[in-house]
Amino acid sequence: MTYEEKLERFERHIDNGGKVEAEDWMPDDYRNGVLKFIEMHANSEIMGAIPEREQIPRAPSLKRKMSLTAKVQDEVGHAQLLYRVAEDLGKGRDAMYADLVNGKSKFHNVFHYPTKDWGDVALIGWLIDGAALVTQAALLDSSYAPYTRVLKRICAEEQLHLRHGEHITLELAAGTDEQRAMFQDALNRWWLAIIHFFGPRSNVEKDLLLKWKVKTRTNEDLRQEFLDRYVPKILELGFTIPKPTPYKDGDHWVINEDDIDWTPLDAIKRNDGPETARRLGLRKRIYDDHRWVRDALSAPTAHVA
């Protein structure tokens, strides 16, 4: 079969809702596109653990400290599941770690920003996990089947994280003026980054991942779902949403695309965000410090008599 015939058969399979397994034939652009996409997701899980990790010592009770630690552990676990899926597409885990710490690959914009206090933990746990869950749930029907199988577990755990984040948020919202101000301050600092999180409007003609149904929905569609779901909840708690401020249009809460300032995202795309260098440095240090653990685990089992 010629390449063109294989490609045509592949595309017909995808158009009919068919799924792709790691061992199936796939065009190089599909393999590379899926690999890069899952690698970025994995990077984001492992880098996303760091901002919350920073706040573990500030937890207001032992219970909160244990639950936040467990959540950070879950996020790192998601990265491991995803790196494993990405590896089967042809790039070694060491190469992926190296590209991450050397700034050659990317991770999600929200993890390039500093955290300040416990208000940030509430906001990240509720709204950033909420945004991530909207995008991840949309991927459960991706054409790349091994990805959808790990996403099932990831989404189930994210659902718990969301509940955990909402629990913390509601505690602040029901609390003193200072506690409410903490959440409002976090919202003011994070809102634009959350809007950026979904990315700019998708280019439906050019986006091969959309064409091949690796992604099933556009960025703007996912952002809209997030706004419709969360804006009413934020407002009913008596918080104020900063710019770009959504407004009610029929059944939807919308943001004018012209009101979104994309400039902060440019530096992040170059891996030059406010916390990028420091967090990648930390990741590299942890990776280097733990080399002995990897070496010990990869050595043949020692049997002690």
Binding site: S67, R149, R163, H164
Partner: protein, 93 residues
């Protein structure tokens, strides 16, 4: 033998056969466990290649880790009521 019922599902243990080699085991598994197209893929693994935990009690959770379960956050409903009441108080309603 392990069977996958569709692309969204993991392989699951679905039965056992006795055969002289892997090829025969696949054929037997197909005849015995795929009569009604119960899945879209099939593995056979020699029982001697399966290693299992010697002590099932090792799977018990060592300490109270209730925060890993959604049931631990069930009071989110009352928390929301209190937060909404607080918001109404601030708005002067």
């Amino acid at each position: 033998m392990f069977r996958r019922s569709g692309h969204k599902e993991p392989f699951e243990h679905a039965g056992a056969v006795i055969a002289s080699d892997p090829e025969m085991a696949l054929l037997m598994a197909k005849e015995c466990f795929f009569r009604r197209r119960e899945g879209d893929h099939l593995w056979v693994v020699a029982r001697s290649d399966i290693h299992s935990l010697s002590d099932e009690t090792l799977l018990e959770i060592a300490a109270d880790k209730s925060y890993r379960f959604a049931s631990d956050y069930r009071d989110v409903i009352e928390k929301r009521e209190r937060a909404l009441a607080r918001a109404r108080e601030i708005k002067g309603e």
